[in-house]
């Protein structure tokens, strides 16, 4: 084992992919990770797939907020502003 035990298995590489992408591997781990990638076509593909997955999620269309919700909030903002500018005026309007 000894020196060879320093090589990650494919399973270990897959488990560390997010940490690799997050930049949170130690220097030694990163070297071992990259050494494995250099030799393993399947893990290179898996890394690419994970990056692709992240990029795809980022491209999901944003969740549309209904116009009436927006309008109601702007109305609310105006009355809040009115209260702010005249704190002593009657608030029963």
């Amino acid at each position: 084992m000894g020196f060879m035990a320093g090589n990650f298995t494919c399973k270990e590489v897959a488990a560390l992919i997010t940490e690799y992408l997050e930049g949170s591997l130690t220097l030694t781990q990163r070297i071992r990770f990259q050494m494995h990638l250099g030799l393993c076509f399947a893990c290179r593909n898996y890394l690419r797939q994970m990056k692709y997955t992240v990029a795809t999620l980022r491209q999901l269309p944003s969740e549309p907020v209904p116009t009436q919700v927006r309008e109601a909030l702007l109305e609310r903002f105006r009355s809040w502003k009115h209260e702010q500018s005249s704190p002593n005026s009657s608030s029963d309007s």
Binding site: T9, C10, A14, T18, F41, C43, Q49, Q59, R76, F77
Partner: protein, 235 residues
């Protein structure tokens, strides 16, 4: 040439604001001051910038879109109520999202939807995210730790191309919706909304390690769902 300007309030706004793409003040102190001063243009721009993300995150806590919309409304009302006391101990964005998560948790608990992080612990050995990953590899023997079915290159060139398929987009959305709450919250903020790891930890009050574990499990599941759509011939 003038007609479009007359009919489009947005274009009038464009003319009035020097930075065309972003009417928000560049620095946070100015943004907060503008809100405290009751600047409606800024409030409206902040709402437009964050409401979609807030809504998506709220949906990870509460059972329906309608309730999530109410949570977003309550959040902005909370922002107005609290902006006068905002001291900048966290970023404005983190503060707004924290208001949302607090309100969403309350609503989620009431609607029996939300389980706090502690109950759905990230270290649970039974979590399907870790067993899903395990299933990709040979468990025993000489091939132990190797791929059962080595990943192939994906066909689609760009994420945009994959998403052109409505079917694929729905599958991804469903995969996210089907995640355990805590994984869904993390992947929604990090990957869908592009919030930084540090901000996600602050918003969800979780450690960096938990954030990474949850993100990893969530991504592993979404990758599996995406696989058949981009494996080839389907895009």
């Amino acid at each position: 040439m003038l007609l479009p300007f007359i009919f489009s309030r947005k274009l009038v706004l464009f003319l009035a604001v020097p930075n065309l793409s972003d009417p928000l003040p560049r620095d946070e102190a100015s943004l907060v001051r503008a809100l405290q001063d009751g600047d409606e243009t800024v409030f409206s721009a902040v709402m437009d910038q964050y409401s979609g993300s807030l809504l998506r995150l709220a949906m990870a806590y509460v059972p329906s879109r309608a309730v999530a919309e109410e949570v977003v409304q309550e959040t902005w009302i909370g922002v107005l109520e609290g902006i006068g006391r905002f001291e900048g101990r966290s970023s404005f964005k983190t503060w707004v999202f924290r208001i949302l998560t607090n309100r969403a948790k309350t609503r989620g608990t009431r609607e029996r939807r939300y389980e706090p992080f502690g109950l759905a612990g990230v270290d649970s050995e039974k979590d399907e995210g870790s067993s899903l990953e395990d299933s990709l590899f040979v468990a025993e023997g000489s091939g132990s730790g190797h791929w059962v079915d080595p990943p192939q290159g994906w066909e689609a060139d760009t994420p945009e191309r994959a998403l052109l398929s409505k079917e694929c987009r729905i599958a991804i959305e469903e995969a996210i919706n089907g995640l355990p709450d805590n994984q869904r919250q993390v992947i929604t903020l990090r990957d869908v909304e592009g919030v930084s790891a540090e901000e996600v930890c602050n918003i969800l009050t979780i450690s960096e390690t938990n954030q990474r574990v949850l993100l990893h499990r969530a991504r592993t599941k979404v990758r599996r769902v995406l696989d058949p759509y981009v494996r080839g011939g389907n895009s």
